[in-house]
Point group: D3
Chain length 321, copies 6
């Protein structure tokens, strides 16, 4: 069963943003895995933020990103309309439980597994960054060890955080250790600030993980960095994870652990599109959007929505050849 929230406005061309049942981009909705086979991409919410150490609020992220959407249309720079080229569906939210991280991660993993099983690409809306752990696990279960392009301030490769092994600061270490992410095909972009320290960086170096710090971006330009990242990750199956705190807080103030001195929206948006166009993505996520205002008045949800659109545009570009 597929529900189309834009049907009532069909004759007018498009649905106003504030009206009608809320789905990502006003897209059709289903929560029935049997329907997924007809779709190229499924949007999946993961509204869980119980493993964010500084500030919560990303539980409201999936709904906020859905509420920030606009009418469909061609990407003015790329010249392609992803909503026309791709068959995209909103698959609702994974059935997370606020106070139960393990149950929530299971819910995300099972929901993503349903998408993957239909040969549909899952594009997740977080939630704190810990939700990438079950999401990537589900993708790797189907595709084997993945390449990973990871936009973030932080490496999220802590061994633990305050003694806890699974938090929003540790998923990438666990994924590498579990064999879900191939460290030689794992590239981080945007690192800055005061974490992690030598222990984590040493662990990363031993495994051959590639890190582009924000000063690397300043020196080489974001386009060159993305080119190198794509080259490093290569042609195998890959995943893109975008923590909005890769952006400077001026561009994404509503996030769990903001860090000044980050990417501009223009840089990150182009990087997501070009990365998605250059890689064989089997999944993606946009995480750590913690909204504080309504609709497109929330700048973080707005840019979160645009990151999703750039990823979709990149996928469309790639499929278009």
């Amino acid at each position: 069963m597929i529900f189309d929230p834009s049907r009532r406005w069909r004759e007018h061309g498009y649905k106003p943003d504030f009206a009608g049942i809320l789905t990502y981009g006003g897209l059709p909705l289903t929560e029935d895995a049997a329907e997924l086979a007809d779709f190229d991409v499924a949007i999946v919410g993961a509204p869980f933020d119980g493993l964010a150490g500084l500030d919560a609020g990303a539980r409201w992220g999936p709904r906020a990103i859905r509420a920030a959407g606009v009418e469909h249309g061609p990407h003015l720079e790329a010249g392609v309309d992803a909503f026309e080229r791709l068959r995209i569906v909103d698959f609702g939210d994974a059935p997370v439980i606020p106070f139960d991280a393990a149950a929530s991660h299971r819910a995300v993993e099972e929901t993503v597994a349903e998408v993957v099983a239909s040969d549909t690409l899952p594009l997740l809306l977080g939630g704190d960054h810990s939700i990438s752990l079950p999401a990537i696990r589900a993708c790797a279960a189907a595709h084997g060890p993945l390449g990973l392009i990871h936009f973030d301030t932080h490496t999220d490769t802590g061994e633990d955080e305050l003694g806890v092994r699974v938090t929003h600061g540790t998923p990438m270490r666990l994924l590498v250790e579990e064999g879900c992410v191939d460290p030689r095909r794992y590239v981080q972009v945007g690192l800055r600030g005061y974490w992690p320290g030598e222990a984590e960086m040493g662990w990363q170096r031993e495994r051959g993980i590639t890190s582009f710090f924000i000063h690397d971006v300043r020196e080489r330009g974001i386009d060159e960095v993305v080119r190198r990242a794509v080259a490093t990750i290569g042609t195998g199956p890959a995943y893109m994870t975008v923590d909005v705190d890769a952006l400077d807080p001026a561009f994404a103030p509503g996030t769990g652990t903001p860090e000044p001195g980050g990417l501009t929206s223009a840089e990150l948006l182009g990087a997501c599109r070009r990365g998605a166009a250059g890689l064989a993505l089997v999944g993606a996520d946009v995480v750590e959007v913690a909204p504080t205002a309504v609709g497109s008045r929330d700048p973080t949800a707005l840019v979160g929505d645009r990151i999703v659109r750039e990823i979709l545009t990149g996928i469309a570009l790639r499929r278009a050849g």
Copy 2:
């Protein structure tokens, strides 16, 4: 086709507020009029605010009221669970057009007419107060001239506003003039401030409209005022319209024309329930909710949601006999 957003959480008892596709109270959703026959009440959004003279924002009201909802359960004072007693569906939003008041009003009228045609009670979420005009028109078309209980700071019986005949300050005059509302069965509760003047009050008196000012409420108590209102409206078909600006701005800050010195939440919530329990309602609306914060952090959407619940509880009490 009916979509149930709570299905994925069924085994856990209820859906967390911030998760899952957004419908009023996590209720089932349909936009298919053919499905309405199975339901007692249909929630209908009317996200139009183009006729608000001071401040817009109520276009975001229906979505905000839906996002402020909680799990189901019994009303702790009334001892009845409306979600168990009544079959309630979310019928989505009327297909309004932001810059076109006439088209938006037509959309509301047609959508409500579909509900009424199924013998289902429409409960609207505004939108500015002008949306009561098409909503009540549609109800009166089916039921004849209606009694009206009207909670508000303002009478909304202006002849025009700045020379414009249909605005959020004039619907009640038009409804009386068109014969949709029977002025002798029309009761206003909560009037205060500096509008309207003698011309409008004279027009009201000539037609036998009953007005309870806020000072009447202070003197007699809200329960007595509601009792008198119910007695005045009597047993015929009736409609309840609730402008949240009937509340003091302390309780409902996000509204188009706030006026200090108003009702408390406790007063208005009880009044809505008792009014709904005492009257033969054929329709109802809650209007002028203009949210500024996310989820239940928005106090106006929160109390707007609770007003809807009180109306539903009152209807359930009445049907329970």
Copy 3:
């Protein structure tokens, strides 16, 4: 020279709040003392907050109160339209200097003196409460020792605050000591919280100042308290000073030293009107409005505006006999 900001909308009946040059209530404006003789009341802004000890922001109060205004009309309870009965002018702001308390107080005193010299009643918009010191001085210079009705959480009769003699916590002591306020005709309403202590209360008792605490209001009702206040102040010339922190923070969140457990808007609004109607006011002020939102979306400026209207309505009632 008198400037009328509503002229361009004359044919439409009234000026929308957000449009046109900003004056109190859309009233005519002059900064020429020679024009004052034709007016009963002059609104005077005193945008100075340099003597607020906890939080500043009341420098934006006069503009915010002006921006919260609505169209004219009759007070729905009192049945009188002050804007019709009284000739009211906006006399602009006293030329205060942000970092210079003494110069600012001089500016307020001279501006109020100009108003008083024209036999026009000054109604000031603060500013922190220290501005009542020069305002009342100017009134007392013309009328002799004044009665004072003072709505506030605090007595503002400190001998000093952190060693400073003139602050927003000391004006009332200075005014009594200077002979501008007659302590036997000085009544405080709304006191609560944890200040002042025995030293100040003893000083007050010695001079015969009358204090109504918030628990007195709860026990006797605000109407009875106002009746007693009016009786105590008697028929001589009097001044009304309203610190919006007399209200509970639910009703006036934007103020320098909020204190929970205060008056409701309904209580304070009626009290101001009845007090103004019962006393021989020669001046009045509304202070400590520190806005944080735009237009009538700011609840404190909104209720500040309504306090001004109630005072004007009270004056109109008294003059009407």
Copy 4:
């Protein structure tokens, strides 16, 4: 080692709120249990919100309550200065871990146990309501089964929440089941809304728990309700727990699960003081303060601070006989 943050301002009388190291009420600080013996009351923060189901943010509560404080002085109604009568210390925060509920509860329990061991009364600042579980456990370990006066919208006696046994909706059931709270000496005040249902209410009735709903408060008055609560709890050791959502959202907007139609600040403040004066308190807490603004501009932290002061005043009154 005791640190006194007000020392530098000693000659000026008091420390400005925004200046100096932040402790509750500018009180002396220690984190050394050996120092506690000299104090009657120890303020203990419990900044953990990981078990809040709807909205997080109470992790910022203890700091916000500390930042909302004012200078010391006598309670203007009660006529007693708790800061003079009682020796009060800020004992800092329990060493909670954001993503680890069990470790956080252990930390709270151990910290409170240190206070209790010194024969000092612990007064906790939450955190979500789950922190009352370890706090009351620690008190009951020393004093045996406790009477409990519980101000709240909700009973917090769920058997589980979404399948999870320990959340902010279940502590009171666990405490009764563990024998820490004597159900016949357990009184709830302020219940309203749509939770819990018959199962929980039946469980409560079987154990003899006393519930005052908000409509009971409206009918009998808060003073009479508190009188009955005190009589029911009697003279044995007791604990007071105050969830700020007992207040209407107008008075406490920043809280995890706000519910319209609640207590006013005036009602709750008096109830806390009278309850504390009437009971043999061995501990107390104020929970679910989730601030969104700075300093005393945050209304919820402000009223949270005043609740603490009323409890302290009540204790002082009782000790004064």
Copy 5:
């Protein structure tokens, strides 16, 4: 009659921003067309936002831009003080009517026509972008078909929006079709996002309209883009329209349809000045400022004010030769 709001502060040098009657930049005010002849530039507010499709609020724009102003002085980069070089007056607001787009547009057209008739340059403060339609019409009526430099995310050349012909998304098409704007002398700068599509872009190409997308700006630099725009528009009469959503939402969050990835303030400010200096401007506007905070704390109104100042500086530079 000319009113000077800074007179009372004359001896102090300038008027504090928060004090005195609010005019643009503290400039003299008149609403009398007969006075315009003495002025080079007239500031005109157009507080109408009824044709904004996503979010309203720009009705508060003109007042907010006026409130964000600072003292006069030389532009530190350009070395010219526009307030000294140009005689500038605040001509108040056009008498718009909130619910009546046609009447509001007539009011704007007539008010601008009065300015143009005095050979004074109108500089409008919006309002939504639809107000450029009557403003440019009035200018073209006097000067013939105009060149147009248009800073914006969107082309605003829709044939209709949701079936409505005149909205904030269509004025530029109407102006070209009506012959008010010469399409060969029409240059757009800053285009990005997902609108418009091929139909509109085709229409533009057929008419010879020049578009600089944001990626053109990134590649060539804003200075080169402005140089080309100026060259394209040439020496004939021209108009500058600046939609603040040309800026990235980081720099202008308060606007009707924000789009990430836009210009920085530094880029747009310089572009406006250089464009104004290079063109034979006969009019200009700054639109879609929808403020949410007070005074210069509102970043969008603040940058809106600075855009106006850059335009004035550019005009001063040009007149200085």
Copy 6:
């Protein structure tokens, strides 16, 4: 006596930001000058904003900057952990008095003098920019005339502001006139906007002060500007003062006199580090942070904290050689 707020979390590695007694970076605290000798750097708050002409709020700056801190760790670009390399203590706040500028300046001067006397480097958190006056005086008293690197929108070299000699717009002129700052070793970076005028710029030129305008930064790059500044200031003792309004309001919205078109966070952060590493700093301050949100959700306090960290990192780099 030294208080260590992180002790309770020692075994977990670090203290969560929202927990524990608030000190800068969770560092040890002392208010005892005798303890300073063991430390390289002392953080000193100066929470005074009484000389800010447009908007107050910086009195909340020191606390907000402290609350925005994160765990320690190496600077990811510079590769040095200042918290390991330097012995840093939080010395609390200078005992300022809100309404008494002279007393507050004395308090700042004496507190800084205590730090300087221990051969410890004072790093101040403002407060408005006037607090640099006493801070630099105290440093110059010990070290003789200082070089000064000054990041700001404004020169702060006014002769007076509205007739007042000591304000946040005049400290730098006073410091030069008093001989505390050597004008030939005084470099300003980031100037823009409309102030000051020719008089002040002429005064600066006569004394040989070096100014880099924002357009100089755009043309030459921030690194080159800092290089020249360091060369100009040379090897003698120097002070760094950072007004956060040097940043564009997108990056630092909460400040007293924001000015669009400023530095990015990335530019200013690197400049502070490189400046500190290149100069013989004897003191530093970060001023004009006026927070409006809680914890790291306040972008201005967050970047204020990071500026402090960059200065500390620069000092550590220099000491490391």
